[in-house]
């Protein structure tokens, strides 16, 4: 890539988010006792039956889908790469093995390298298995879903088990045409397909100009991605969990994410949302960080509000913190300015 010759040397930067997203998912949280006593949100909606294992009150079974979101700059970055907004950025498959619920997930990891080139060339990792307990402790927002009706749960679990045994590597290029390497939602989609349900709904990559620059540098040529959120489109939620956030704060966070996505129109720079520091790596721009914090603080008292009102309040705070946003008016103003 000739453009690399003009490059600047950085320790951490935005494209590394592709790597860091995976490490962010690994988290650094200490393991705590799971349950409503230690989690702010421990909302169980599923009903146990003969095929479930009650894990700390959660009716879990092989073939369920786990979806998560960290709310980090890395996860917002990954979210903005896709044209459509979805609540979650990560998914995996639950299986019960030897009486213990585990999560199979595709996970990318940065590899030590002295070579040049974009970070996608230096991402390793692949399918791995962690305990559900560990997964719940390390993620910020987690939901568990039953797969769509008709799914063969045992086949889903077997596919996950066999894929791990086969050493399925991580696909840092998000190429869903090549099933010999997988990214997280691609793996989940393949597992569900093995169980007879095909949620292979895709979303095109974001037409944003700065996203195109990033993807070009990362050598990612795929026209579309299987978004994590699409995996659960036809699934039934079994539970919602968060150590630190109330249900209203979770809802408000997803509305924040939707608002950021709405404002990230094709001409907007990624640098308007995220910023870099040589030492600190990827961060939110201060205004965006302030907006997110203002929403989270306010939402602590929104637990009795219906979702529609939570969304309206988030939009009102967005106007207050980030300024008014009317896409049509802005587009006209831009056109007029160019004439």
């Amino acid at each position: 890539m000739p453009s690399l010759l003009n490059g600047r040397r950085l320790r951490l930067h935005l494209p590394a988010a592709v790597l860091l997203a995976a490490s962010a998912l690994l988290g650094g949280c200490a393991t705590t006792t799971l349950g409503p006593g230690t989690f702010t949100t421990w909302q169980i909606e599923g009903q146990p039956d003969e095929s479930t294992l009650l894990f700390r009150g959660i009716p879990v079974r092989t073939g369920q889908i786990v979806a998560s979101e960290q709310g980090s700059p890395q996860s917002i970055f990954l979210s903005l790469l896709v044209a459509d907004n979805y609540r979650f950025v990560h998914t995996g498959i639950i299986a019960i093995e030897d009486g213990i619920p585990v999560v199979y997930e595709a996970n990318g990891q940065i590899q030590a390298s002295f070579g040049g080139g974009p970070p996608t060339r230096h991402i390793g990792g692949g399918l791995r298995r962690v305990t559900l307990e560990s997964f719940l402790n390390k993620q910020r927002f987690i939901a568990i879903y039953d797969p769509p009706p008709g799914a063969d749960r045992e086949r889903i679990g077997r596919f996950a088990h066999d894929s791990l045994a086969a050493g399925l590597p991580f696909d840092s290029y998000f190429n869903r045409e090549d099933p010999t390497k997988v990214y997280c939602s691609e793996f989940t989609a393949l597992a569900l397909a093995a169980g007879g349900v095909s949620p292979r709904q895709v979303s095109p990559v974001n037409p944003n100009a700065s996203v195109a620059v990033i993807l070009d540098w990362l050598e990612i040529t795929t026209p579309d991605i299987i978004p994590a959120g699409a995996i659960i489109a036809d699934a039934t939620r079994v539970g919602l969990f968060s150590r630190l956030h109330t249900p209203a704060q979770i809802e408000a966070y997803f509305d924040v994410k939707a608002e950021l996505h709405r404002r990230f129109t094709p001409e907007q720079k990624l640098g308007n949302v995220l910023r870099f520091s040589m030492l600190r790596g990827l961060k939110f721009q201060p205004e965006v960080q302030g907006f997110m914090q203002a929403v989270n603080t306010a939402a602590a008292s929104w637990d009795k509000l219906p979702p529609v009102e939570v969304d309206q309040r988030v939009r009102a705070l967005a106007v207050e913190q980030l300024g008014p946003f009317e896409p049509a008016r802005l587009a006209n103003a831009t056109d007029a300015g160019q004439r």
């Binding site: 600047r8 320790r11 494209p15 907007q268 720079k269």
Partner: protein, 59 residues
């Protein structure tokens, strides 16, 4: 003393594996933000402040 520590830290960081080069084209879209009015994530400055910003700096 502090400067020495920063220098040592910078050298250590620079020697870490995984260092990569950020092309100028990439840096342009991820290291810089747009000014108000063209930035959907930045409030317009209050009119008084905008007028002050627009004034040429007196020397």
């Amino acid at each position: 003393m502090r400067r020495s520590l920063i220098t040592i830290a910078a050298l250590l960081l620079a020697s870490l594996p995984g260092c990569i080069h950020l092309p100028a084209s990439v840096a342009a879209v991820v290291e810089q933000s747009d000014p108000p009015r063209t930035n959907n994530f930045l409030r317009d400055p209050p009119p008084a402040q905008a007028a002050a910003n627009a004034k040429p700096v007196e020397r």
